[in-house]
């Protein structure tokens, strides 16, 4: 039987210690807890990066910086018309003056409105990816009808933030791999310790004609069950922490923090982690035990 969990009661009796008697399941639980948290961080950050850049990465804001109000209005209308006429522009909207006043109020107070300080008009436009790639031509077309126009590319100022988020995602993935390696190393140590504990039984089994695979199956099954138990405990603990953390983030009300949520596909990935941990532990145990047995006659 290669499937690690199908063993007869007699086969299960061959190794003495109960499953939860050693520290192994708890070591695996701690590692799985850390793995799930690291993976959840990575997945949430990746989702945040998508949310932050995906929605507005191809957006531009056109400012008409013209002191003369009549000219400013005229050029604003012309720029909007030019943008609307372009293929690949999905949305053109003038930013309401009230919103602009609200934006500059922390810096200028209400003076701009009261004292007639000229404030540029702003137009938001969502471009297709293809059109965004030809931003220079778009700028030239707008400048032809609105010489006072300045085009701000959102992708440019989002790039450092997106880069940071991506770096953090990679860091989280690195942590997952590191913890996975530590898990594998722990399983190797546990398997070797178990082999030493049961050396006399193994020798008897060998002399009766037991194959390495038969003996390895006894150990891999036990370690697989330890890993499943530890994985489940670690996973559930991490899920509780994640849900509590989610509540706290929701209470902050920050759009940026809120964008770092976990979609259902991410939950699916997290759910697979304890199973993957059990498979990893089983394979490591199998190869470790077979490797040690091969050194015996």
């Amino acid at each position: 039987m290669i499937f690690p969990f199908s063993a007869t009661p007699a086969e299960r009796r061959l190794l003495t210690e109960g499953r939860l008697s050693g520290p192994m399941p708890w070591v695996i639980a701690i590692m799985m807890f850390l793995t799930v948290l690291a993976a959840a961080s990575g997945l949430a950050l990746a989702n945040a990066a998508r949310n932050v850049t995906g929605g507005i990465a191809n957006r531009i804001t056109v400012q008409i910086v013209e002191a003369n109000p009549d000219l400013r209005e005229e050029q604003t209308r012309a720029a909007m018309a030019a943008l609307a006429a372009m293929d690949g522009v999905s949305h053109v909207a003038r930013v309401p003056d009230e919103e602009i006043d609200r934006l500059i109020e922390p810096f200028l107070g209400t003076a701009a409105e009261e004292e007639g300080i000229p404030v540029p008009t702003m137009i938001d436009a969502d471009l297709s990816e293809a059109l965004h790639a030809q931003l220079g031509e778009v700028e030239a077309d707008i400048a032809a009808v609105a010489p006072a126009a300045r085009v701000d590319d959102h992708a440019q100022f989002l790039a450092p933030l997106a880069g940071l988020i991506r770096s953090l995602s990679w860091l989280a993935l690195g942590l997952v791999l590191l913890i996975g390696s530590a898990l594998a190393a722990s399983v190797i140590l546990a398997a070797r310790a178990a082999l030493n504990t049961h050396r006399s039984t193994i020798e008897v089994l060998h002399l009766m004609g037991a194959t390495d695979i038969q003996i390895a199956r006894l150990f891999q099954r036990r370690i697989a069950l330890d890993a499943l138990f530890g994985g489940a405990v670690g996973f559930l603990s991490a899920v509780i922490v994640l849900l509590l953390l989610g509540q706290r983030i929701g209470a902050v009300g920050s759009e940026l923090l809120g964008s770092a949520s976990l979609p259902w596909t991410a939950w699916l990935v997290l759910f697979v982690l304890p199973l993957a941990g059990a498979v990893l532990a089983t394979l490591v145990a199998r190869f470790t035990v077979i490797g040690v047995l091969r050194k015996m006659l």
Binding site: T8, A10, E11, R13, L14, T16, S200, T201, E203, V204, L205, H206, L207, M208, G209, A210, T211, D212, Q214, R294, L297
Partner: protein, 244 residues
């Protein structure tokens, strides 16, 4: 015509860099024969048995078992050969956390016999060695003689072609020793080749037609050359005792 089940030719065994434990050991064992291996402590009896039950490879020489060169045999083919051999270890080597029933059933389980099919033969074996009422007892709760019988039952449950026993009467009283020997003789009559290592020279006279092999300082005493080139009898493996 008797066939050869095991053949040693100029076998030497050395542990590490020390002196040879066995030197130039040559003999042939006939299928169905009964052999006593004697010699003083440290003569190399256990080492020779280890070579015979494939727990050790020799440092030199040739060993053929079941018509196969087992010295160069690939390691992954050893289990198949080991399943044809029964071993009664000097220290029994019962698995301490298993019951008498499970210890005896071990070779059948290793061979992949279904649980439903092993209950009957194991119970028969328990009855045969007089331990039917101790089926669920652990080795630690059994007397030395009982443990010995469990070890023997475990060694013969799968009907091995050759049974190797290392000092099987070393831990039992003379009466039990006689009973065990009677048991071995019965197995031998069923066709199992027997190799019994013992100090007890009184045992030798209790089995008719048994052949004696004597080891001394790692060398097999074979002044007549009979062990190396045994005379063959047509139709059976057992030979008359030398001098009989």
């Amino acid at each position: 015509m008797a066939t050869t089940i095991a053949q040693f030719e100029n076998v030497g065994l050395r542990y590490g860099t020390g002196a040879e434990t066995l030197s130039d050991v040559s003999f042939s064992l006939d299928t169905g024969g009964f052999y006593f291996l004697t010699g003083p402590s440290g003569a190399g009896k256990t080492s020779l048995l280890k070579l015979l039950y494939l727990s050790q490879r020799p440092s030199r020489g040739l060993i053929r078992l079941f018509d196969t060169d087992v010295v160069t045999l690939a390691r992954d083919r050893l289990p198949g050969f080991r399943r044809r051999i029964g071993v009664v270890f000097q220290d029994f080597r019962l698995v301490p956390h298993l019951s008498t029933f499970d210890n005896i059933a071990l070779p059948l389980r290793v061979a992949g016999v279904e649980e439903s099919e092993l209950v009957s033969p194991v119970n028969e074996m328990l009855a045969w060695v007089g331990l039917a009422d101790r089926a669920s007892a652990r080795p630690a709760t059994l007397s030395g003689g009982e443990q010995q019988r469990v070890a023997i039952a475990r060694a013969v449950i799968h009907r091995p072609e050759i049974l190797i026993a290392d000092e099987p009467t070393g831990n039992v009283d003379p009466e039990m020793a006689a009973r065990l020997l009677h048991l071995f003789d019965a197995l031998n009559k069923l066709g199992t080749t027997m190799v019994v290592a013992t100090h007890d020279i009184h045992l030798l006279s209790r089995v008719s037609n048994a052949q004696m092999m004597r080891l001394d300082s790692g060398r097999l005493a074979d002044p007549t050359g009979l062990l190396r080139n045994p005379p063959r009898e047509a139709g059976r493996g057992r030979r008359p005792k030398p001098g009989a």
